[in-house]
Symmetry: D2
């Protein structure tokens, strides 16, 4: 089994820069997390963007879609900021022959306490057990791309 | 959706006692991990044992099987030590009408670097996507109970 | 021995809010860190401000000075943002009869990797070993308030 | 300013080996902790032993004393297991011309929650502020080697 990871930035990869009193998107954390979990499957990581998902444009979403379509591997996980994860998931609908799972985190992976590991674990299980289609794994739940929204007030994902 | 977690001990729950210069099984970590990941599903946690899995007896496995069978919920995750996780998984075969996933970790959940969150995330996705049966989620892989072993030399799970 | 901690905010206490895609100053971390280190001395914690130190005004510095002067305890640690820590240290010069140590961190205490614990440990040792005066403990070094600056380009403290 | 660190093992360096269901002393953690804290002083690290301190012999203590005496640097920090830290501290009394601080931790440095960073920070401040002599920094307190014991029941250090 092989899985391809496409990273686009988002909270999961955020680092803190004291010199600027703020955060920026840093190196993709997925590589460290996979290494720390001693995964035995084959994988590639493509670093496409390092953006807060509010800054992703329609052209960026088209680029993600092209990357997914051109990928030989049929199991693809996209790490992504949470604010527009649902929009990108829908922009990936209709990519035939592939199981695509988007995930990310509400707290940076670099925090002692973060949902990054659990969310990524969910994506890894979902991508190897689900039929072709587009899914989101957040808040302990496997959502279908067509039936999910981010509730910003409650800061969580939920079904429509 | 509801998930029942049955905890039996193992490395995932290990704590370090300096006074004894050693590790012992502590409080189940699954509650903290679920809370930190802001999961939105309903769940119960039953703490059945606090044992290194090498110390689990046949009677203990029967007790786990009884607990699983008597449970109304049809999605059950068992956290377990890794050394005899495969044996317990097989002792749960044939519990009709339930999807059962066993998981644990190779490094204690209390470590900065641990596979606990990712493994538990995999179990949570697997238990909601897979048909009835018994599974193990370790090393980034969803295994069927009948087709997995722990390779102790390499310290990882693999297919037979 | 008793130590009084005055918290004013800064990176050490920063938390990440996904809903706002940014960091804000959260609860003082000093209480958790002291608890986790099983300290045996008596202490009080006064939470004075929750500010990025660039937002501290002259009136705020006067309020910190008043708090320090009115304090019965002669060993005082001030946790503070790094950008204007030197300015506040100098504003505390001349508080007779007290050993005052300012510290903070370049990475939030909530990160897996942070200088918060080490810096706070330095402050705790310095406040119980040094004569009356005002000091800063950052970057592994005990600085006198009159002989330190923050080098923003290098993101570290150094002697003048 | 230069500090020499001599590592001898102990809980601070303990790692967990799932394959053996137990812990062993791993690589010295002091190098990682110093790097993560961006310390600006010059330092060397000498890795002398990797032992649980209950396994240190009289010959081992003599070897530590020789290492300390032969060291050109006059500021020396010894990381050490907690159970016999007091014995080693006393075996170092009388090394003229040097400030020697012993420290370690009650929870492994690899844990999310550990006293290792704070204790090491205390040692770093103490070794640069105290007169020649032998000290222990544990539980938020700077102890003199002649006036400290480990209370094993309470799992903390205290004055005699």
């Amino acid at each position: 089994m092989k899985i391809v990871f496409i990273t686009t930035g988002g909270t999961i990869d955020k680092i803190y820069f004291d010199a600027k009193s703020g955060y920026e998107v840093g190196d993709p954390q997925v590589i460290d997390i996979l290494s720390e979990a001693n995964v035995i499957f084959e994988y590639d990581v493509h670093n496409l963007f390092r953006k807060d998902s509010l800054d992703l444009t329609d052209d960026d979403r088209l680029a993600i879609r092209e990357e997914v379509k051109n990928e030989d591997c049929d199991r693809i996980i996209v790490t992504h900021g949470t604010d527009t994860m649902v929009e990108t998931a829908r922009a990936l609908l209709g990519c035939a022959g592939k199981t695509i799972v988007l995930t990310g985190s509400l707290a940076p992976a670099r925090f002692k306490i973060s949902d990054a590991g659990l969310n990524l674990g969910m994506a890894i299980a979902a991508v190897q057990t689900l039929p072709n289609g587009v899914y989101i794994t957040m808040n302990g739940t496997v959502f279908e791309a067509s039936n999910v929204r981010k509730n910003r007030e409650a800061n969580r994902f939920e079904r429509l």
